[in-house]
């Protein structure tokens, strides 16, 4: 097994876990099981919190600043990426006080366009890589894909794990892949997409989360957005628990990014409540929590207008995409 690049200071228990294939398997299978009923109930319970007025405004602005504005379609054009970048810089053209989004997320061949548009704005350029969304290709191709995106100027790489290997229990292979992609990233942040919709159980989500963290992922991300179900609250809970426990054991803070299926402000606020309650208030920053979304931003902007103008807004007042 390749050595993880970011774990010179791992505590002995974790350093031992990544020593070889067998100990990695032992560690991941030794993780406590997830209480399915419990986590779903807790997620639903936290989802009923009512956030109003000033707190809601704060939540909306925080959520906007955490959005990874995403376009991952076969039909993407350079023009579409340019207009997306314009929206990222100034989400609501009529209101200058709306925060910028955290990043723009595109396919590797669109990175160059995005970099040109976002130079000097402080907005990150995220690129999916490693044969997104299926991850079905050789390691060589995946590394090339990553290098291509990084060379083009991507500051964040969203990689997919090999779910086939993970589900057949070849944890070592998945681990090695993440380590090598992380190496290929250089300075770029690495987000590891677990594609929880294909992992079947919460126990698997917990194992995959720890695998991603052990291998050096800066973020763990729920889904590609191409598989249903995408992000759900209980799954995000399990992942937030993993980064919280990781922090407790190593002192390092890693991030979580739910992606796909979060379309309304109400949903977004539920996620923020979960972040606050499960991981902790330190995670309520764009460095440690992101939303992978495209339509969510419009709803956030409409809700923001509703709060400020005192009446309901409509989709005629925001951009189409």
């Amino acid at each position: 097994m390749a050595a993880p690049t970011t774990s010179p200071s791992l505590p002995p228990a974790l350093a031992d876990a990544v020593r070889d294939d067998a100990s990695l398997r032992r560690f991941l299978h030794g993780l406590p099981g997830v209480d399915q009923v419990g986590v779903e109930q807790r997620a639903a319970g936290l989802g009923t919190r009512s956030i109003k007025k000033a707190s809601k405004m704060w939540a909306i602005d925080t959520a906007i600043s955490m959005v990874d504005l995403t376009t991952l379609e076969g039909a993407d054009t350079h023009g579409k990426v340019r207009s997306l970048a314009a929206k990222a810089r100034r989400p609501d053209p009529e209101r200058a006080d709306v925060p910028k989004v955290a990043a723009v997320c595109v396919y590797p061949d669109m990175v160059e366009t995005a970099v040109k548009e976002l130079e000097g704005t402080g907005i990150n350029i995220a690129s999916v890589a490693t044969a997104f969304p299926s991850g079905r290709s050789s390691l060589k191709v995946k590394l090339e894909d990553t290098a291509y995106a990084v060379d083009a100027g991507a500051t964040e790489i969203d990689m997919v794990i090999d779910r086939g290997a993970f589900l057949s229990g070849r944890f070592g292979q998945v681990f090695d892949e993440i380590v090598q992609v992380k190496h290929a990233c250089g300075d770029a942040h690495l987000k590891v997409i677990l594609e929880t919709g294909e992992l079947a159980t919460y126990d698997n989500v917990r194992r995959a989360s720890w695998l991603g963290l052990l291998a050096g992922g800066d973020f763990i991300k729920t889904s590609t957005g191409k598989v249903s179900p995408a992000a759900t609250l209980p799954v995000t809970h399990v992942m937030l628990q993993a980064v919280r426990d990781w922090h407790a054991q190593t002192g390092q803070r890693r991030g979580v990014k739910p992606a796909g299926g979060i379309r309304t402000t109400k949903d977004a606020i539920k996620y923020l409540v979960a972040v606050h309650e499960v991981a902790g208030p330190e995670w309520l920053t764009a460095d440690l929590f992101r939303f992978g979304a495209s339509t969510l931003l419009n709803d956030l902007l409409m809700q923001r207008r509703t709060q400020l103008e005192g009446h309901y807004s409509g989709p005629d007042y925001v951009t189409v995409d």
């Binding site: 005192g310 009446h311 309901y312 807004s313 409509g314 989709p315 005629d316 007042y317």
Partner: protein, 287 residues
């Protein structure tokens, strides 16, 4: 078994083809003209109005895009189901408005006929209100009436069925979708109408019926940026000016309430025309 206790009903709202409870969880008792308890009706809130507007907006492309002929067929089908519920409507109108059964029968029959009358207009309104314009040049110019979008309808407070149908049918006949706030004290015929609409071919979301306090819900619909037009017929007198003013904030079409409108009279095209926009295009002639 004469000592049977009848089932007291608690009705719900009609939003997007479903019957949800009010988001607020409130309901209020509905009494007949003599003050006897009839049933509980849901007391809609501003968030119910918001949800109704969202689904009405979603239903708009499909309903306005349907052929006029198809819309007509759907509305005729609604008239058939109305006819099937005739007895229930007569009982409800008699109770709500405190009129004799004979009078209630005539009101219900007129209401059903009114629905059929508007159903017939779906595929005729374009030729009557639009057409080709005379021009002095080698091109065509023609005008088409098009539905304006989502219409918020404040139904008449007195005429619980005939008045309701007289304001709802013209809105949807031309391809608009509607969010209707029913008569506040006489909502039961509106609830039964929504049951009729749910069991006919009308797509969900084309008509949404909110029961509750008109003065509470109306301002939110008047100011809502995604509502395109507002029918003030059932608005309380004192609130009309304010509603019109806040409707102007997002440039809505507003149909003002006429003083003491008599719904038994034969209608004209005014209500059809009120929620149409005219699109005029020119087109070069072939060689």
């Amino acid at each position: 078994m004469s000592d049977r206790i009848s089932v007291a009903k608690t009705y719900k709202l009609y939003i997007g083809g479903a019957f949800p409870r009010s988001e607020s969880g409130r309901s209020y008792p509905v009494v007949d003209a003599k003050g006897t308890f009839l049933a509980n009706a849901a007391q809609g809130s501003r968030k119910d109005a918001r949800d109704a507007v969202t689904v009405a907006r979603k239903a708009f492309p499909g309903w306005s895009g349907a052929t006029a002929y198809n819309r007509g067929q759907v509305l005729y089908r609604v008239a058939e189901v109305l006819e099937g519920r005739r007895e229930q409507f007569i009982a409800e109108v008699a109770a709500a408005e405190g009129v004799a059964v004979k009078k209630a029968q005539s009101l219900v029959d007129t209401a059903i006929d009114r629905w059929v009358w508007y159903a017939g207009w779906t595929d005729k309104v374009a030729t009557v209100l639009g057409g080709s314009n005379p021009v002095a040049g080698p091109y065509f110019s023609f005008s088409l009436p098009e539905p304006t979008g989502v219409v918020a309808v404040l139904a008449p407070q007195q005429s619980s069925l005939l008045g309701l149908i007289s304001v709802v049918a013209p809105v949807i006949a031309t391809g608009n979708t509607a969010v209707v706030v029913s008569s506040q004290d006489r909502p039961l015929p509106a609830v039964t109408l929504s049951e009729v609409l749910a069991t006919s071919d009308l797509p969900g979301g084309v008509v949404n019926v909110l029961t509750g306090r008109t003065a509470e819900i109306a301002p939110w619909l008047a100011s809502h940026a995604d509502v395109n037009a507002l029918d003030l017929t059932g608005a309380p007198e004192s609130t009309r000016a304010d509603l019109e003013r806040s409707a102007a904030g997002t440039v809505k079409r507003v149909l003002r309430a006429r003083p003491s409108e008599d719904f038994t009279r034969e209608p004209d095209l005014a209500r059809l025309r009120a929620f149409l926009e005219t699109k005029t295009v020119w087109h070069p002639m072939g060689v």
